[in-house]
């Protein structure tokens, strides 16, 4: 992997008066129950992970699992109780106020679940807000904001107030605002949760399109497992402040680490998540038919092609070298839920 942008080393966030002291005494062995008995609530419990440049890490968990708290620790909207956080090598927890403001003004953008637009500013003023805070001239900031308005497809509505927009449109403004300063790191806190299902899907596609273009380093929070699977390079599943599993979508679906994770994966349509590479047989490269599929194809898209073949279908990589094969029966197994895996 390329260079690391966000790095967390056993980050803890514990709410309550004696949190710091109790954490020190516990030697990193935090038990939520004992803490609760002493009036402390554990938000994030020993979170360690890295996010590489251009990677999208989706943190998934139900409400109260500490995912939003984790995000707020990393954006330092709240101070972590223990552990270390590095942003591009800078020790986040040791930045003074001025350095923190500089970091936020230039490197970070954030999108919120409730959009968090400023009600007294128009669309374009909202988007220009972070630029103006930085001290950029009104003219320049407005023209830059107009570019962002176009990017998120709100042309013609730049003089509307947030209250005059639909939820989806408001979130487009939120996204545009967070991108206005061209941040390297992009935090999204359940950005689509407050939207209708149809709009949500539309926004997800839009978001993928944007990310393809912009290649930001992203931490994306969601409580929707399907959304996580659709968007993520890697997924971290959280429960009670603990990261239960952190892996690629395919690995989570194929090898759930805990019972809790497995429950999520049960209902997942595998053919939509897994790609050929995840299920192919890399040892057998002989007796192949004429038809070939790429290792990056999602199973659903090529299933028909494979199932209509008599022979075993070959799998090729991007350079058209054969790297394995796949039997029609494997596809049927995957789709109809045999617990047998062959990765």
């Amino acid at each position: 992997m390329s260079e690391t942008v966000i790095k967390c080393e056993s980050v803890y966030k514990i709410f309550g008066e004696n949190a710091k002291k109790m954490l020190e005494e516990s030697n990193g062995n935090v038990d939520a129950k004992t803490f609760q008995e002493n009036g402390c609530i554990v938000g994030v419990n020993n979170a360690s992970f890295e996010v590489a440049k251009g990677e999208m890490l989706v943190v998934m968990g139900l409400s109260g699992s500490g995912k939003s708290t984790l995000l707020r620790c990393i954006s330092r909207l709240t101070d972590a109780t223990g552990g270390k956080i590095f942003i591009e090598g800078q020790d986040l927890l040791h930045l003074n106020n001025k350095e923190l403001i500089e970091l936020r003004r230039n490197k970070m953008g954030m999108v919120f679940q409730s959009f968090a637009l400023l009600p007294h500013k128009t669309v374009v003023e909202n988007i220009a807000f972070p630029l103006q805070i930085k001290g950029i001239k009104t003219e320049d900031s407005i023209s830059r904001a107009m570019e962002m308005v176009k990017l998120v497809g709100l042309d013609g509505r730049e003089n509307y107030f947030p209250r005059e927009l639909s939820g989806g449109q408001q979130q487009r403004v939120g996204i545009a605002r967070s991108l206005a300063v061209e941040p390297d790191i992009w935090f999204l806190d359940e950005p689509f949760s407050a939207l209708d299902p149809l709009i949500r899907k539309e926004m997800q596609d839009e978001f993928l399109r944007l990310q393809e273009k912009l290649q930001k380093t992203i931490m994306f929070i969601t409580h929707d497992f399907d959304e996580a699977l659709k968007l993520a390079d890697r997924i971290a599943i959280m429960k009670d402040g603990i990261i239960e599993q952190l892996d690629t979508p395919a690995n989570i679906v194929l090898n759930p680490a805990t019972e809790y994770v497995r429950k999520f994966t049960e209902e997942v349509p595998r053919e939509k998540v897994l790609v050929i590479e995840d299920v192919m047989d890399s040892s057998n490269k002989d007796n192949l038919g004429d038809v070939k599929v790429s290792k990056d194809d999602i199973i659903e898209n090529v299933a028909e092609k494979i199932l209509t073949q008599e022979k075993i279908v070959g799998v090729v990589d991007s350079n058209n070298n054969i790297i394995g094969s796949i039997k029609p029966s494997t596809i049927i197994d995957t789709v109809f839920g045999g617990r047998k895996n062959s990765s």
Partner: protein
């Protein structure tokens, strides 16, 4: 027994009332008792009892403690007076440099602070006043009297009224558009040609100092309270008392501290106007969604940017209500502070009321109300202003307002100059229409009042007599007949039944303070007038509110009417009732009712509006008719909010009752008015004010506690 279990609360209340009435009947009125006589007045009488406290002698008539408690707090006013005197004249003497005599002089610290504050305020007021009306004090403040004698042309000439009117119109146009511009222009022209220019500008200069200062102080303290719990805890009780303290009562201590005049009026106005501003600022800031704050932080705001660009604008709605309140209070005080020598419309209004010249009073009152509404609308428009980034404007378009204003200055000045030729022998009407030299409709109104009075005299008189003899007098007698102990039991019992032991203690403390002050009888009279006013106001308010709510348009219309009525300074309400009922309790009560009906109506409509739409639909689907829906769904759910309206109604009513003392009532207000002209009045005025505030707070505590419980019960907290 079954009923007892089913409605335990009901039986507790009945029990309380039974005890109360039993006590009332059991305790007789002492034979020598004279109602209303102050028990600690400063006449010496061998029948009086005496006690000493903190070296102060308190004389009073002793009675059975069950009937009337002895005035154990009688020393408080005297003590406050002495402390004030000590602080002002003796405490912390220090050396101060005196400019005039060029030497150090010893002066008490507080006196020096008060003097400096006073001269600062005077300077501000004079500055604006002289820009509007002309004068030389501002120049003198920077130079000296000798200097101005040498260069007399330096005296500020004052602006011709045409320029001020044009300026106001252009400003209104820039802020809001043609509608407000028209209103501003008409207001200014009206003021001018009706000969109210000078007093209006005097009032305006007072307002233009008081409003911004109150706003700045209020919002700063509000921010401080928002940021620090400790500051909030320290401020809160003061704010609570200040909110229910009649404005009158604050005048007296101010008189001692700052003397007589406009500067004292500004300071006292700030004392009254700042508390609501603080409360609303805190309320607004608290209501800012946390994610919006986080969005601000993530945009890289410094703390200052976060406050000015995110928090305050987002809390704008509540802060604007605060500004509206500040403006309202300032205009109200513009009249009341005429008592301590503030110049302007208020002074004219009081004078006219004193002479029973209803026409003149009406004109002055109308001017105050018009300016108040104008400023209110302008401040609102200013806060809602929007910037256009995309218009490709020419130089003229961008600066047209400034150009027009510049033009109007030139035109106005030329007109004023021409005026000196046209009106050679009389006043220059193009410069300023002098007081009482404009049109006046006073005669018309006076004749109208006379006509109404002559025509309906019989009916008005009959109504008045009936009301006073059949309703008011008996009610008053009943209130005065309440023994102190019975009243205490009732108040504490109610507190306990509504809010448990905590409420009971608070209510007991507040009631005891009043009972132990020397003015219990007067407090009862105040209470009787307030009760009568509140009951009638609520009846009217609920009815009108409910009727208007039946139709969206009429509801919006009614809220608009409430807004406008609320902008009138409270004194204005006395004018029409005095027209009809002269100097009687009826006048006061009707003014109270008109004034206090505003919040009752407003909260009724708002409360009914707040009933969720889903419930309406559910009710309709269960097949209720309009009346059933009102009684079964809307009233029960809207009732907590309506109770808050009653709370406001009580405060409004108390204010008006106290102001009614100006007409002549025998309650606490009369003493406050008396204290104004008393050398030792500060302590008395303040204590009386606290008594009135406490009456308000007793009801405030009971109602708020009840509402909170009820809302929790209904799940609409």
């Amino acid at each position: 027994m079954e009923y007892l279990k089913k409605y335990p609360k009901l039986f507790q209340w009945i029990f309380l009332l039974v005890v109360f009435f039993a006590l009332c009947f059991a305790i007789d009125v002492p034979e020598t008792y004279k109602f209303i006589r102050g028990q600690a007045e400063f006449v010496k009488d061998p029948n009086q009892s005496v006690y000493f406290f903190l070296g102060k002698e308190v004389r009073y008539y002793a009675f059975d403690v069950f009937w009337r408690l002895p005035p154990l707090l009688g020393w408080l006013p005297i003590w406050i007076n002495d402390s004030l005197f000590f602080l002002m004249n003796e405490w912390m003497p220090m050396e101060f440099w005196n400019e005039d005599t060029q030497e150090f002089k010893t002066r008490p610290l507080l006196l020096e602070i008060s003097r400096n504050l006073t001269s600062f305020m005077t300077f501000l007021i004079e500055l604006i006043r002289e820009i509007l009306l002309g004068g030389l004090e501002t120049i003198v403040a920077f130079t000296s009297w000798d200097f101005i004698d040498a260069y007399p042309w330096l005296e500020l000439p004052g602006l011709p009224w045409t320029i001020v009117a044009a300026g106001a119109t252009i400003l209104a146009y820039k802020l809001s558009g043609i509608g407000l511009a028209l209103f501003a222009g008409l207001t200014m022209v009206y003021i001018s040609i009706f000969g109210q220019w000078k007093p209006s500008m005097q009032t305006l200069s007072f307002i233009l100092v008081a409003v911004p200062l109150s706003f700045v102080f209020g919002i700063s303290l509000g921010i401080a309270a928002y940021k620090s719990k400790r500051v909030e805890n320290a401020l809160y009780p003061i704010l609570l008392v200040m909110q229910t303290m009649p404005q009158y009562a604050v005048l007296v201590p101010a008189l001692v501290l700052f003397g007589v005049g406009d500067h004292a009026a500004v300071i006292i106005t700030m004392v009254v106007a700042v508390p609501p501003m603080i409360l609303l600022t805190v309320l607004g800031l608290r209501a800012v969604p946390p994610e919006v704050i986080e969005a601000g932080r993530m945009s890289g705001c410094t703390n200052w940017q976060l406050m000015t660009k995110v928090l305050i604008p987002t809390a704008r709605r509540d802060i604007l209500i605060g500004v509206n309140q500040v403006i309202m209070v300032c205009f109200s005080m513009a009249v009341i502070s005429a008592f301590i020598g503030a110049k302007g419309l208020g002074f004219n209004l009081l004078l006219a009321l004193n002479q029973l010249n209803i026409g003149l009073a009406l004109e002055a009152g109308l001017c105050i109300s018009l300016i108040a509404i104008l400023l209110d609308k302008m401040s609102l428009a200013w806060a809602n202003q929007q910037q256009d980034y995309f218009g490709n404007l020419t130089f003229f378009q961008r600066n047209k307002n400034i150009i027009f204003f510049g033009g109007s200055i030139i035109v106005g000045a030329i007109l004023a100059y021409i005026g000196t030729f046209i009106f050679k022998d009389t006043f220059n009407y193009l410069f300023e229409v002098p007081h009482n030299k404009g049109f006046s409709t006073a005669d018309f109104w006076n004749k109208g009042v006379d006509w109404i009075f002559d025509t309906f005299f019989v009916y008005i008189k009959a109504f008045n007599t009936w009301l006073i003899t059949e309703v008011l007098q008996p009610m008053r007698a009943l209130y005065l007949r309440m023994p102190a102990v019975a009243t205490l039991v009732l108040a504490v019992g109610a507190g306990y039944l509504i809010g448990g032991i905590r409420s009971a203690l608070v209510v007991a403390a507040l009631t005891l303070f009043i009972a132990l002050s020397p003015w219990w009888d007067r407090a009862l009279v105040t209470l009787y007038m307030a009760t009568f006013g509140v009951v009638v106001s609520c009846l009217i308010g609920f009815t009108v509110g409910t009727l208007c709510f039946q139709n969206k348009k009429s509801a919006a219309f009614m809220l608009g009417v409430c807004d406008i009525f609320q902008t009138f300074p409270s004194f204005v309400y006395l004018i029409p009732v005095m027209m009809l009922f002269g100097i009687t309790d009826t006048s006061v009560l009707i003014a109270v009712i008109v004034y206090a009906t505003i919040p009752a109506t407003r909260y009724t409509i708002e409360g009914l509006r707040s009933v969720p739409a889903g419930l309406h639909e559910a009710a309709t689907m269960s097949g209720v008719n309009k009346f059933q829906r009102l009684t079964k769904i809307e009233f029960p759910l809207a009732f907590p909010h309506m109770m808050l309206g009653i709370n406001q109604t009580i405060v409004f009513a108390l204010f008006m009752v106290i102001i009614g003392a100006f007409i002549g009532t025998e309650d606490l207000g009369q003493y406050i008015l008396k204290a104004l002209s008393d050398k030792n009045g500060a302590g008395i005025g303040l204590t009386l004010g606290i008594c009135v505030a406490f009456i308000g707070l007793i009801f405030d505590n009971l109602i708020r506690t009840w509402v909170e419980k009820r809302k929790k019960h209904l799940g609409i907290a």
